[in-house]
């Protein structure tokens, strides 16, 4: 029975308002700035292979980001978006999952995708919209997706994936195969109505989903001080009855362990969990952006010091798992691989014209068939105007 007036909530007789100071949210961290474990932090739960694999994926995407920003500046690519500085958040969390847990990304989670095994060639096919792109060349660069890797295709409208993750996870629960979903989003996207819908629904309907917020300080030019007035995103979880944790998002070990624990609770109890990873977007929002218009070099430099890759490398070296030589070999190998893959992709043709009307529906209805026929004639009649497709019309 619903009877709040009679529940044993404490009574007060003066109108005292509660404020955010009613709630203190600590930060969960394993590694200090220098990469050394905090006192009381026990890193032994993270296997060596996991650490190496996380570092590997992080280095790959860091190099990919560098290469593609350069490619965009050279005019070889229309658009790109780096995750520089956020690798611990995305790779560390992916590592904390099982490989067939579903990932619903925002767009800055190439680290998670790489951890799952997306190849340099696959990245390039998407970025250059080649005929081998799994997305058939239909979306802007960085809108990756792969069913084989349980990585839902990126969609630009912000926050739409958050309630979708609740629904997907509910399906996983019904299917009873012990899987869960993770949903990434920025602290900016967490202002959208879909965020609210998702957390509340997931809590009420009991969906095994990990809501993973990358709080990187900015939504394009908008700093968190103009995004919210409360204590970040983790503080909201409590209101929804969703267990929440704030974690140092530049600390691979903490992100990994928090995600692993979140997964355990989500799957075993069938409930949602919220993780807020505090990090920083070291680069521009995207290649269309120039941060000098809204933040200081000084601030950026201050954050360089928390570089997650440097911290995990220091940790690895202290453990005797890594050294400069191995590091250079890894990097050079990836640099070469990435460059070669880019050249290959650049040389590939675009998807054929027929792709344009496929997949709107399972089968094209009359209007699309007719429009395609007319277009084919149009391209045939004006091959110079449509160089991407004119050469190979079916």
């Amino acid at each position: 029975m619903y009877a709040p007036s009679s529940v044993d909530a404490p009574r007060i007789h003066t109108p005292d308002f509660i404020t955010e100071s009613a709630l203190t949210i600590p930060i969960y961290g394993m590694l200090g700035e220098d990469g050394r474990p905090y006192e009381g932090a026990d890193p032994s739960g993270v296997a060596k292979e996991i650490v190496l694999a996380m570092h590997d994926a992080a280095v790959f995407t860091r190099l990919l980001d560098e290469r593609m920003v350069a490619a965009q500046r050279q005019g070889r690519l229309s658009f790109y978006l780096t995750a520089t500085g956020e690798e611990a958040a995305t790779v560390g969390s992916a590592a904390g999952l099982e490989p067939d847990d579903m990932i619903l990304p925002q767009y800055r989670e190439q680290g998670a995708l790489r951890y799952r095994g997306f190849t340099a060639a696959q990245f390039m096919d998407q970025l250059f919209a080649t005929e081998d792109d799994l997305g058939k060349g239909r979306q802007m660069p960085v809108h990756y997706g792969s069913r084989a890797l349980s990585y839902m295709t990126v969609s630009s409208p912000l926050a739409t994936q958050i309630p979708q993750a609740a629904g997907y996870a509910y399906g996983q629960k019904l299917a009873g195969e012990g899987r869960c979903s993770i949903c990434y989003f920025g602290e900016g996207a967490a202002s959208e109505g879909d965020f609210h819908a998702a957390l509340n629904m997931a809590a009420v309907i009991r969906c095994p989903v990990i809501f993973f917020c990358r709080n990187n300080g900015y939504a394009i030019s908008t700093p968190v001080s103009e995004q919210y007035a409360g204590d970040g995103v983790a503080a909201r979880g409590v209101g929804y009855g969703v267990r929440s944790i704030r974690v140092d998002g530049n600390d691979f070990l903490a992100v990994y362990l928090a995600t692993q624990e979140a997964r355990r609770q989500a799957v075993s109890e069938g409930v949602p969990v919220l993780i807020e990873a505090m990090t920083y977007r070291l680069g521009a929002h995207s290649t269309s952006d120039d941060p000098s218009g809204y933040r200081s070099r000084k601030e950026e430099e201050a954050w360089q010091r928390f570089d997650p890759i440097a911290r995990i490398r220091a940790f690895m070296e202290a453990q005797g798992w890594w050294d400069a030589e191995r590091d250079e070999a890894l990097r050079q190998g990836y640099r070469d691989e990435i460059l070669a893959a880019m050249k290959t992709a650049e040389a590939k043709p675009a998807p054929s014209l027929a792709r344009l009307i496929e997949d709107v529906y399972a089968a094209p209805p009359w209007n699309l068939t007719e429009q395609y026929e007319a277009l084919r004639e149009q391209v045939r009649a004006n091959p110079d105007a449509y160089p991407k497709t004119a050469g190979r019309i079916e």
Partner: protein, 325 residues
């Protein structure tokens, strides 16, 4: 066969779908224990359990977001939006997500299992927000299918077909007919083909086209016209996207005249698309302008609902005007 009203037919369709396939999941505001404010989901929770038929919190954008995710996971998500007037908070999830899911992923993922049911339309003294006919908004959105039944019998068949269709479907239910329309409905499992219009009455003078609750209205007008010696061909469109251009143009090529009726406001209503396409295809055969009998370009009113509605009298007047052009 059983006598059912349109609501009962829909309930029977949902029941049939859930019995046949355990991946059919029904949810929305008040659809659980209560069975929906119109009772379309009555008894489903009792029969199939709270896991497969449940209440959601009150948030349409969440309902459809959740439904998109559930459908992407391979389920046949049947989401109810309590009134079509309240579908707009979910517009982004429908137009930017549902409609583009398969295309944008290169068919790596799809939400073809999704069906969105929602009661629409006027004639129940519902004013602005319990009367709207928003179909045209969705018809401008490639990737969606839009279906509107008009009788208990086709309601069941079309809903079963929609739930099983490989594409996401918006299924708008003419709530004015929920209890008013009664007819024989097969108790067994059957589907009515999507994308097919139905010629309800053959005639040679003028084609009259409608969908949903307005089918009854234009049928009545056609009967009145018959008394005046005008022989109408009446078509029930049933699926709006993709619509049955063949049946419609075949009819207009024969009659040379077309009257379209819909409840939504005239400007940029779906009647405009039908008119534009038909004149493109039947230009030389048209003997008079294609005529639209529609709601006014106002929000849906209360006191003047009768005056607002494209009723049989206005339709009759349009038929006469078209024939006597």
């Amino acid at each position: 066969m059983a006598r059912m009203n349109l609501l009962q037919a829909l309930n029977s369709a949902l029941d049939t779908a859930m019995a046949a396939d355990e991946r059919v999941i029904c949810f929305g505001e008040d659809v659980g224990q209560f069975g929906g404010v119109f009772r379309a989901t009555s008894h489903l929770r009792d029969r199939y359990g709270n896991e497969r038929c449940f209440n959601t919190p009150l948030v349409e954008q969440g309902i459809i977001g959740f439904a998109n995710g559930l459908a992407a996971a391979g389920f046949r998500a049947v989401a109810e939006i309590q009134f079509a007037d309240y579908i707009f908070p979910a517009f982004d999830q429908i137009v930017n997500e549902t409609a583009k899911f398969r295309y944008r992923s290169g068919n790596e993922f799809n939400v073809g299992g999704l069906t969105i049911r929602s009661p629409y339309g006027g004639g129940i003294s519902g004013g602005h927000y319990h009367s709207q006919s928003p179909e045209a908004y969705f018809c401008h959105t490639p990737g969606l299918k839009v279906v509107v039944p008009s009788t208990p019998e086709n309601a069941k068949g079309l809903l079963l077909a929609s739930i099983r269709d490989p594409d996401p479907v918006l299924f708008f239910e003419p709530k004015r007919l929920y209890r008013a329309a009664v007819g024989d409905v097969p108790e067994e499992d059957y589907t009515a083909e999507l994308g097919r219009a139905e010629v309800l009455r053959e005639g040679g003078d003028v084609t009259v086209l409608a969908w949903g609750a307005q089918v009854e209205v234009v049928t009545r007008a056609a009967e009145m016209a018959a008394e005046k010696g005008i022989d109408c061909e009446v078509i029930d469109l049933r699926t709006l996207l993709p619509w049955d251009v063949e049946t419609v143009t075949r009819s207009v090529l024969k009659t040379g005249r077309l009257v379209i009726n819909h409840e939504a406001p005239r400007t940029a209503g779906f009647g405009a698309e039908l008119s534009a396409t038909v004149q493109e295809r039947c230009f030389l055969y048209l003997e008079s302008p294609i005529c639209r009998v529609t709601g006014l370009d106002t929000p849906f009113p209360l006191a003047h609902e009768r005056e607002y509605m494209p009723d049989h009298l206005k339709t009759l007047a349009a038929i006469e005007q078209t024939v006597n052009f």
